[in-house]
Subunit: 487 residues, 2 copies
Amino acid sequence: MRIDELLKEYKFVWAIDHANSLLGWDLEVNMPVEAASARGEALAYLALIRREYLLRLKDLVSKYEDAKDLTDFERGVIRVLKRELKYYTSIPPEVIEELNRTTTKAAVVWREARRESNFDKFKPYLSKIVELERIIADKLGYEGHPYNALLDLYEEGFTVNDADSVFNTLLPNLKSILEKILSEGKYPSRHPLEEVPYDVNVMKSINEELLKILDMPVGTRFRMDVSAHPFTTSMSINDVRITTRYEGKDFRATMFSVIHESGHAIYELMIDPSLEMTPAGRGVSMGVHESQSRFWENIIGRSREFVHLIYPLLRERLPFLKDYSEEDVYRYFNIVRPSLIRVDADEVTYNFHIALRYEIEKGLIAGKLDVSDLPSLWNDFMDKYLGVRPRNDAEGVLQDIHWSQGSFGYFPTYTLGNVIAGMIYAKLPGLRDKVAGRRFNEIKEFLRDRICKYGAIYPPKELLMRSFNDTYNPTYLLNYLREKYLS
Amino acid sequence: MRIDELLKEYKFVWAIDHANSLLGWDLEVNMPVEAASARGEALAYLALIRREYLLRLKDLVSKYEDAKDLTDFERGVIRVLKRELKYYTSIPPEVIEELNRTTTKAAVVWREARRESNFDKFKPYLSKIVELERIIADKLGYEGHPYNALLDLYEEGFTVNDADSVFNTLLPNLKSILEKILSEGKYPSRHPLEEVPYDVNVMKSINEELLKILDMPVGTRFRMDVSAHPFTTSMSINDVRITTRYEGKDFRATMFSVIHESGHAIYELMIDPSLEMTPAGRGVSMGVHESQSRFWENIIGRSREFVHLIYPLLRERLPFLKDYSEEDVYRYFNIVRPSLIRVDADEVTYNFHIALRYEIEKGLIAGKLDVSDLPSLWNDFMDKYLGVRPRNDAEGVLQDIHWSQGSFGYFPTYTLGNVIAGMIYAKLPGLRDKVAGRRFNEIKEFLRDRICKYGAIYPPKELLMRSFNDTYNPTYLLNYLREKYLS
């Protein structure tokens, strides 16, 4: 292969990434609490080491980037590395450092501000972060809207035009779907099981059974642990790990986090082994990654067929289910309820929360919104689309950690995940039968062939177009929701 | 401080070491099995990265090494770094690489050879390894005996003269102690509890209680896990981890591995916090490290006072102990039995096993022994000193993994550990009362002040001389054994 020398040099970066992944995983799962500051120092120094080894690839990337007869894989490698190099070389280190300094403090202040429901306290930090994000957008460069530069960090090639088109279709249609569901009253807005406590060890055994049902390679290429917030880490194609948490009541929560994270893990586990240790050996974008987790969590996990499959297990192990039928459990898994908090939202109302954050980020980065405008804009939007109004900013504009961490451009990928998951639902032949027949390997093979095996070889739009002859088209998601909730 | 610029640059190396420690720990404790090859690759690349960052310190070390007014800490830092640089710069990379290649194969062949009890199979690999170790000794340089160069890698400044003096005193005295113990018959050579199976979860709960008794900072700065072979890892002064294993019978084994590894951990946990992230922030040598683990395991853990302390707990949780008195358990913990296998040896016979290995390594490195001589030499030595003769090489010369890994010079540090532990026993006032009164913090304070807090600031001989006005003097160990087994 032509670019062997580049791939060889890249392995240093890969090794550091491998170590970083483990350091991050361990921090959430195992690390003794007083070790935090040493771990933080280690991560900071490893970031500098990574930067150095990545920048060493610059000349080799330049050497090959205009080469004519590259394979798709080679082009993918060059593309991914160019994107990484662009980030390191176009943003001045002082800006990154100032952002790090600001977000370190902002994370603390945000927590206080949320506790006190005091947006004014967080405002100066948010202003500073927005200012730095605008500088970063400028340094990265963009065509059209400056927010495009930030969107591209999380979803390569995704633009304000794309996003506007997605949300302009979604919002009115979702609103009408939601209104119909609420007026029909077939789906509950509350369920008694939400308050029922469970035995943690029993739920652990149920989650282990879920992994068996989903045919996860526990112990050979995969493992599950416990952490404060569920997440997925991939250290290698043969070392993918998820976590869940046990809150002690509302047993759906831990189950669906297991299925959600398993979706992320399945993506990483099915990347073609030949891509291991190369820049293309990773999920291609946040949106595509989220499509996998949402597909498994919502479209499979919350389906009638899946509930039918696992109801006997739940019934056997959870004594409090004795008075609940399979239909009851299905409804408990599919409550539709306009609510204030994004992370608690159901699959019908979720995207309203994202639309709001998207509009805010777009306006802030364009300089058309001031942070002072946020609380009232937030509350009015919630009122208008969901008919609920935060009583305070903790329930409103202060609820998410993302902005305090400097993550601008990330939120829209949650909706992309739903949109792409809807598309997969439409394109995967016989999905319901496969779930009913516990033929998850057939579902995985479809996902492998259309998405996973390619890693990051093709940019997300190209991948979706090749595999589905469509990109971020929200129609499929709307059809799925109508079929599920209105038929 | 003068050497700040050096300490700052060293932090890159420290960060890589921090990551390496976690990667190694995780490999034994958590890693899914099919991840081994990726993990191996990552470790190999990180070794190259570490080498590069360490070599960058060369000029700064040269700049300061002859400075006049350095503090003890600064001199310690320079000394440790000079030793590391010497290793990297004096041994040609090709030699290291050839050793790595050879030992990778040798480890596999050794396992087969041991299984088949076929020393001839392992012989060519051992010859090759000895040849490379002799080259390494030459490249490192030495005064006197070439084996000194290898001893120094594990125990700085320790020489063949020192070792000869230790073993020449130990062997005849241990032989006479052993003969008396065996002739008196007060200590059993077998105990029925060796064969009694236990419930793993019960033993886990007992080990957790042991950690409480020893006042280990579980969850804050320390943790315990399970692995195939017990070990201790320190990632930071505030992140020290041990492992144990559960073999299912002979409950001593897992308990004493917990106490042994806790001894190693206590050393690392009590290094002065100001040494964190510096080259001096580590245990000073293998011998001194082993002294801590052996002190806690043998001198404290196998004492009458400790047995008295934990007997009620054992009695309560292990139903099979109902017919065993405290005295029975004490004797079960202190069986004296000449045996073939080093890792099963008691505190009286253990050092014979090391003396044999020391003589062999010394002879091989000097070129005075050929690997073909080993089996008969081995068997005759065992016969002469312990009165037992291996029936085959699996029970004899093939039993240890060390040589297949290229570890020459390591074995003697096990005896040094025992020797120094004996010295600590002699110098620690009121030790038995402290154990009886569960005043382990007072014991720890003594160890902290005499050994642990210094990290690697002073070389081991200087440290021992400063703290105990003596170095590797085996008289204390002999006195301890006489007092314990013959009085």
